[in-house]
C-alpha cells in the first residue's frame, strides 16, 4: 500500500505539471490569435508618420458629426430596445412561469427562434413589414428597435430564465398572494427585485447587441453606429478602427461588470448556505 502511494505521487505531480503547462500553452496560442487584432487596432488607430504616436484619430471621434450622430442613434436604439424587451418579455415570462407552465416550452421555442432565422434572411422579409411600420409611425430610424427586440430575445430569455430558476419564485409569490398582494404587486415588489440580476444581464446583452448590429440596419438603409463605422472605414480608416476598438472595449467592460456582480452574488449565496449548515450544491 505504502509502496503504491510512494510510486503514484510523483507520477501525479508530473501529470499535474504537464496539464498546467498545456493549459498555459493553449492560453498563449489562442490568446495571441484573439488579442493580436485588438492590439493591432490600438496601434493602427494611434499611428503617425515615422515611429511617433498620435491620438488624432481618437480625437476625431469627438468632432466627427456623422459619427456622433450614429453613436447617439445607436445608444437611443439600445435604450428603446432594453425598455421594449423588459416590458414585453419579463411579464410574459414570469406569468407563464407561475401560472401557465404548459406554455413554458412554447415561449422558450419562440425566444430561441431568432438564432435559427439568420438576420440576413429576416431582413429580406422585413423590408415589406417596415414599409407598413413606416407608413403607420412615420419614417424614423428609431423604429429599428422593434426588430432589435426580436434579435435580443434569445439572449434575454436565457438570462431571465436562469434567474427565474435560481430563486424560488413560486413560493415567494404564493406567500405574497396569501398575504393579500395583487398580481401586479407581486410582480413589481416580489418578482422583479428577486430576478434583477437576470434583468440586468439581459439588458447588458441587449445593449451590446444593438451597438454591434449591422446586418439589418445597413440593408434597411439606416445610419447606425456600425453602418457609419463601415462607411468611414473606406475614407478614414483610423477613426473607424478607433471607434471599433472603443465599442469592443465598452462591450467588454459591460459584460465583465455584470459577471462580477453575478459571481459576487453567487459567492454570497454559497457563504450563506454554508453558514446555515445547508450542504447545498449551487445549481
Amino acid at each position: 500500500m505504502t509502496a503504491a502511494v510512494r510510486k503514484t505521487r510523483p507520477v501525479r505531480r508530473r501529470r499535474f505539471q504537464l496539464r498546467s503547462m498545456t493549459r498555459w500553452v493553449v492560453f498563449g496560442v489562442v490568446g495571441v490569435y484573439l488579442l493580436l487584432p485588438l492590439v493591432a487596432m490600438l496601434e493602427f488607430s494611434t499611428r503617425d508618420v515615422g515611429w511617433s504616436r498620435s491620438f488624432a484619430a481618437w480625437r476625431d471621434i469627438g468632432v466627427n458629426r456623422e459619427l456622433l450622430g450614429a453613436v447617439t442613434l445607436s445608444l437611443e436604439l439600445a435604450a428603446l430596445t432594453v425598455i421594449g424587451m423588459l416590458v414585453l418579455l419579463t411579464p410574459t415570462m414570469v406569468w407563464v412561469h407561475l401560472r401557465v407552465p404548459r406554455l413554458r416550452r412554447v415561449i422558450e421555442f419562440i425566444c430561441l427562434l431568432p438564432l435559427s432565422i439568420p438576420a440576413i434572411v429576416l431582413v429580406v422579409g422585413l423590408a415589406p413589414v417596415y414599409s407598413w411600420v413606416n407608413y403607420i409611425f412615420g419614417d424614423s430610424p428609431l423604429l429599428l428597435a422593434y426588430v432589435y427586440v426580436i434579435l435580443v430575445l434569445p439572449y434575454a430569455y436565457r438570462a431571465i430564465h436562469a434567474s427565474l430558476l435560481a430563486v424560488d419564485i413560486e413560493t415567494l409569490s404564493e406567500a405574497a398572494r396569501g398575504l393579500g398582494a395583487s398580481w401586479p404587486q407581486v410582480f413589481i415588489r416580489i418578482v422583479v427585485p428577486a430576478i434583477r440580476g437576470g434583468l440586468l444581464s439581459a439588458s447588458v446583452l441587449a445593449i451590446a447587441l444593438v451597438l454591434g448590429e449591422f446586418t439589418i440596419s445597413s440593408l434597411l438603409n439606416y445610419d447606425t453606429l456600425q453602418v457609419i463605422v463601415n462607411l468611414l472605414g473606406l475614407r478614414n480608416a483610423g477613426v473607424s478602427v478607433a471607434v471599433s476598438l472603443a465599442a469592443l472595449i465598452f462591450g467588454f467592460v459591460l459584460l465583465f461588470v455584470v459577471s462580477t456582480v453575478g459571481s459576487r452574488r453567487r459567492r454570497v449565496v454559497r457563504a450563506a448556505a454554508q453558514a446555515e449548515g445547508v450542504n447545498g450544491s449551487d445549481s
Binding site: 487584432p37 401560472r99 401557465v100 439568420p118 434572411v121
Partner: protein
C-alpha cells in the same frame, strides 16, 4: 374551499393579467362548483391565463414570423404573386448562386471545425481554473463580446492586423523585407474570410462548451487515476465519450453561426459574392431586375432550409443525450 383562501392563490377576484391582456376578472362563484362544471371552469380559467402571453405572441408574429412567412412565400411566387417554382429553379441552375451555397457550406464547415477545436481547448484551459477567478470572467466577457457583437469591428481588427498596412504586415516587411502585396493579399481572399470567421467561432465555442466541461466531475478523474489510468485513458474512455455529444452539438451550432453571419463578410469583401449572404446583399441593393425580384427570397429560403436541417440534427442529438444522461 373558498376561492381566496388556502394555499392555492387562484386569481379569483380582481385579478388582472400581468401583460395587460386579461381585461376581465372572474366573478366569485356562488357555491363550490362540483363535478364536470368544476373541471370545465378549470379549463376555462387555464385558457384565460394563457391570454397573458398574447401581447408577446402577437409581437413575435408581426416582427419575426410574418417576415419569415413573406420570405418563404415569396420564394415560390412571381412578381405579381402567382405560385411558381421559377425562383428556386433559377437559384439551382445559376452557377454563381450554386457556388455561393458551396462557398457558404465549406466556409461554415471548415470554420466550425477549426473554431471548435481551438475554442474547445481554450474552454478546457478555462475550466481547469478557479470557477470564480478573474481569468475565467475576463475570458467569458471577451468571448461574449467577440462572439456575438463583433461583426464589422472584427473585420477592421483583422485589416488593422493583416491588411496591406496592418501591424503584422508591416512587421514582416520590416523584418524580412517582404512587400505588403506579397504578404497581405490573403486577408481579402476566401481563405482570409475563413481566418476571420474562425476568430469569432472560438469565443462562441468557449461560451457553448464550457458548461459541458464544468459538468465533468473530479471524482471521475480520480477514479480513473486510482484504477491506474493515465491521461490518455481518461480522455479516451471517460471524458471523451461523455463530452462527444456536446462537442458535436457545439460544432453544429458553430456551423449555423458561420452560415448566418453577414456583417464581417460584408465589411471585408466589397466586390464579388462568394457566400450566400453577400448574394442576398446584391439582391437587396438592386431589387429592380425585372422578373427576378423574388430570387433573393429563394436564396434566403435556401439558407433557412440549411439552417433548419442542421438545427434539427442538433435537437435530435440533444434529445438522445438527454435520454442517455437520465
Amino acid at each position: 374551499m373558498t376561492p381566496t383562501g388556502g394555499t392555492d392563490p387562484d386569481p379569483a377576484n380582481g385579478d388582472v393579467g400581468l401583460a395587460g391582456a386579461r381585461g376581465g376578472s372572474f366573478a366569485p362563484s356562488a357555491g363550490p362548483p362540483v363535478g364536470p362544471a368544476r373541471s370545465r371552469r378549470k379549463q376555462l380559467r387555464s385558457a384565460a391565463r394563457s391570454l397573458g402571453a398574447v401581447p408577446f405572441l402577437g409581437y413575435v408574429v408581426i416582427f419575426l414570423l410574418w417576415p419569415t412567412v413573406l420570405v418563404v412565400a415569396g420564394a415560390f411566387a412571381t412578381d405579381s404573386g402567382e405560385t411558381t417554382l421559377d425562383n428556386v429553379r433559377t437559384v439551382v441552375s445559376t452557377g454563381a448562386y450554386l457556388n455561393a451555397f458551396k462557398g457558404s457550406l465549406e466556409l461554415s464547415a471548415a470554420t466550425a471545425l477549426a473554431g471548435g477545436i481551438l475554442g474547445g481547448l481554450l474552454a478546457w484551459a478555462v475550466a481547469e481554473g478557479d470557477p470564480d477567478g478573474v481569468l475565467r470572467r475576463a475570458v467569458l466577457a471577451v468571448s461574449g463580446v467577440l462572439a456575438q457583437f463583433g461583426g464589422v469591428m472584427l473585420a477592421f481588427g483583422f485589416l488593422a492586423t493583416y491588411g496591406y498596412s496592418g501591424l503584422v504586415t508591416l512587421v514582416v516587411q520590416h523584418l524580412f523585407g517582404l512587400s505588403p502585396y506579397a504578404t497581405a493579399g490573403w486577408i481579402y481572399s476566401f481563405f482570409g474570410l475563413g481566418v476571420v470567421y474562425t476568430f469569432f467561432q472560438i469565443p462562441l465555442m468557449v461560451l457553448i462548451f464550457l458548461p459541458a466541461l464544468d459538468g465533468l466531475q473530479s471524482q471521475w478523474r480520480e477514479a480513473s487515476d486510482n484504477l491506474g489510468g493515465n491521461a490518455w485513458a481518461y480522455w479516451r474512455h471517460v471524458a471523451g465519450p461523455i463530452l462527444a455529444p456536446s462537442f458535436i452539438g457545439a460544432l453544429l451550432l458553430l456551423f449555423v453561426n458561420a452560415f448566418s453571419a453577414y456583417a464581417t463578410a460584408a465589411a471585408l469583401i466589397s466586390q464579388g459574392s462568394p457566400i450566400v449572404p453577400l448574394q442576398i446583399r446584391t439582391y437587396m441593393q438592386s431589387e429592380l431586375v425585372i422578373g427576378q425580384a423574388n430570387v433573393g427570397k429563394a436564396l434566403a429560403f435556401g439558407m433557412v432550409v440549411v439552417v433548419i436541417i442542421v438545427m434539427s440534427l442538433h435537437a435530435l442529438l440533444q434529445r438522445r443525450t438527454a435520454k442517455w444522461a437520465s
